[in-house]
């Protein structure tokens, strides 16, 4: 073994340690970002609409076994009631996962990282452009009420990245949320 080999072998633990430290720093950064995202999401009330409900001993509560998975696909809603003329023009399911109004019928989305029915294939860029533009995947149809897009679009990129990191850290739940339904006049 020549001197070069000895030097290389000697360098391995140093390089490995450096890589480990970098990795830990990255993980620590990820954890901080996820924690920030959790703080925002869970203090902003996102679960009110995006998490299904169940009945507990004290009445309806969040079903956190499928947190943030949106309106359950197996909870098929009947057609919305026809609302009378006047200011009482919204109807909402008791679960808060189905809404009817002048925009049609909307169902809160599955925000878990399931690749087929949630945000699993979304990139951070797609998520941010969706919030900024108010359009599905940043390009498509408009995001519908009651999503408070006008407020959330004012968040910083860093906070939106934190939210996305948190949502991607959640357990994936397979749940195909129904497509929204346009108001009858537009169909």
């Amino acid at each position: 073994m020549n001197k070069l080999h000895i030097a290389l072998f000697a360098a391995i633990p140093v390089v490995a340690l450096a890589l480990l430290q970098t990795s830990q720093a990255a993980n620590s950064g990820d954890e901080a970002r996820i924690a920030r995202g959790s703080y925002i999401v869970n203090s902003f009330g996102c679960a009110d609409c995006h998490t299904p409900k169940k009945f507990g001993p004290n009445g309806p509560e969040l079903d956190n076994t499928r947190a943030f998975s949106g309106h359950p696909a197996d909870f098929v809603m009947p057609p919305p009631p026809v609302m009378p003329e006047g200011p009482w023009n919204l109807a909402v399911a008791g679960t808060l996962t189905a809404w009817s109004g002048p925009w049609g019928v909307s169902f809160p989305a599955n925000l878990t990282p399931d690749p087929e029915t949630g945000l699993g294939k979304w990139t951070e860029e797609t998520f941010i452009s969706t919030i900024r533009s108010g359009r599905h995947m940043g390009r498509g149809r408009e995001i519908l009420p009651p999503m408070p897009i006008e407020q959330i679009r004012n968040m910083t990129d860093e906070d939106l990245r934190a939210i996305f990191a948190y949502l991607h850290s959640l357990p994936a739940v397979k749940n195909k949320v129904p497509d929204p339904i346009a108001p009858a006049a537009a169909r």
Binding site: G104, K121, T123, E125, T126, I128, S129, R132, S133, G134, R135, H136, M137, G138, R139, G140, R141, E142, L144, N154, T156, D157, D179, P180, I181, A182, A186, R187
Partner: protein, 314 residues
């Protein structure tokens, strides 16, 4: 990003007459150095008549070494005017020194004396079309939705759209504007440089099995591929309708399993399902019938060798 958007908006001229498009807006005299162009596959905007111009900085040229990704010099400006009987809107793109594109739209006054910068969120119901639908001026985020969904920010000014080998079946084809520059003229005048020799010898065209297929793919290229392409943010959706001149796959494979959905979306103007999702309130019936017939009679005909492009003079 919010600060970024505000800073971009802050630098925008408030009036179209201040953007450099016109030497005299009263007589609609175009400024020297502003050049008209007419893409062979126009975007459908509810039947609007359009005019388009480019202005390159003095002495600068477009780098076309990658024929699918032209690189424009800083300061390049584009304008596109939309008319429904009268000019309604003119949109402007400008390449800024830091490499970002700024987007603006100007709403024409009813008397046609000038056009004012539209609000950042756009202007709904800016005009009525002859068909009775409304024309909305898009917001700046809407501009970004289409122009920033793929590798190219400029969508209607490229080797394929300006090819001298114009498609005789192109839908809603426009007669080239007076003095409009095509690819050969742009190269000849030194405004496009580095275009690979093969595209000088043989003008670019879409590889297709039949003339109808060529026009159908051209329509989908112009109307859908800004978002539905193989290299942008929506590539994971699997619908790749871009026709790349170099190393590009055929759109046919990705289209076949989605042909029914494509027709449904094209024909819908339900705001939740329509495609394109913005910029139009009126389905393009002529194109829909054309695409339907092509899908029905040709798309499912299996794999055949593409028709070789005809040799044309540059």
């Amino acid at each position: 990003m919010i600060a970024l958007l505000l800073s971009l908006a802050a630098g925008l001229p408030q009036r179209l007459s201040e953007t450099g498009l016109y030497a005299d807006i009263a007589t609609r005299t175009i400024a020297p150095g502003v050049l008209p162009f007419t893409p062979q596959y126009p975007l459908w905007t509810d039947g609007a008549a359009k005019q388009r111009w480019i202005k390159l900085p003095e002495g600068k040229a477009i780098d076309a070494r990658d024929p699918d990704n032209w690189v424009f010099p800083v300061g390049t400006r584009f304008w596109k005017e939309f008319s429904f009987g009268r000019a309604v809107e003119t949109r402007m793109l400008e390449l800024l020194p830091d490499g970002r594109w700024s987007y603006a739209s100007y709403a024409w006054s009813a008397d046609g004396s000038d056009a004012l910068l539209a609000p950042e969120r756009g202007l709904k119901n800016a005009a009525q079309t002859p068909a009775g639908t409304r024309h909305d001026i898009p917001g700046r985020m809407d501009c970004r939705a289409c122009h920033e969904a793929g590798p190219n920010r400029v969508l209607g000014f490229n080797a394929l759209q300006l090819s001298t080998d114009r498609d005789p079946l192109a839908l809603h084809a426009e007669k080239p504007a007076q003095g409009a520059l095509d690819l050969a003229q742009l190269v000849e005048r030194g405004l496009v440089r580095g275009l690979p020799e093969e595209f000088l010898r043989q003008a670019p065209r879409i590889a297709a099995r039949t003339p109808r297929e060529r026009a159908a793919l051209g329509y989908l290229q112009a109307n859908c591929s800004a978002c539905h392409n193989s290299r942008g943010e929506l590539a994971p959706l699997g619908l790749h309708l871009d026709n790349r001149l170099v190393a590009g796959g055929s759109p046919l494979d990705s289209l076949r399993p989605r042909a029914e959905l494509l027709q449904k979306r094209m024909g819908s103007r339900d705001p939740l399902t329509q495609m394109p999702p913005l910029g139009t309130h009126l389905a393009d019936r002529e194109a829909l019938e054309f695409i339907r017939a092509w899908i029905r009679e040709e798309l499912g005909q299996g794999e055949r060798e593409p028709v070789q492009p005809q040799t044309t003079s540059k």
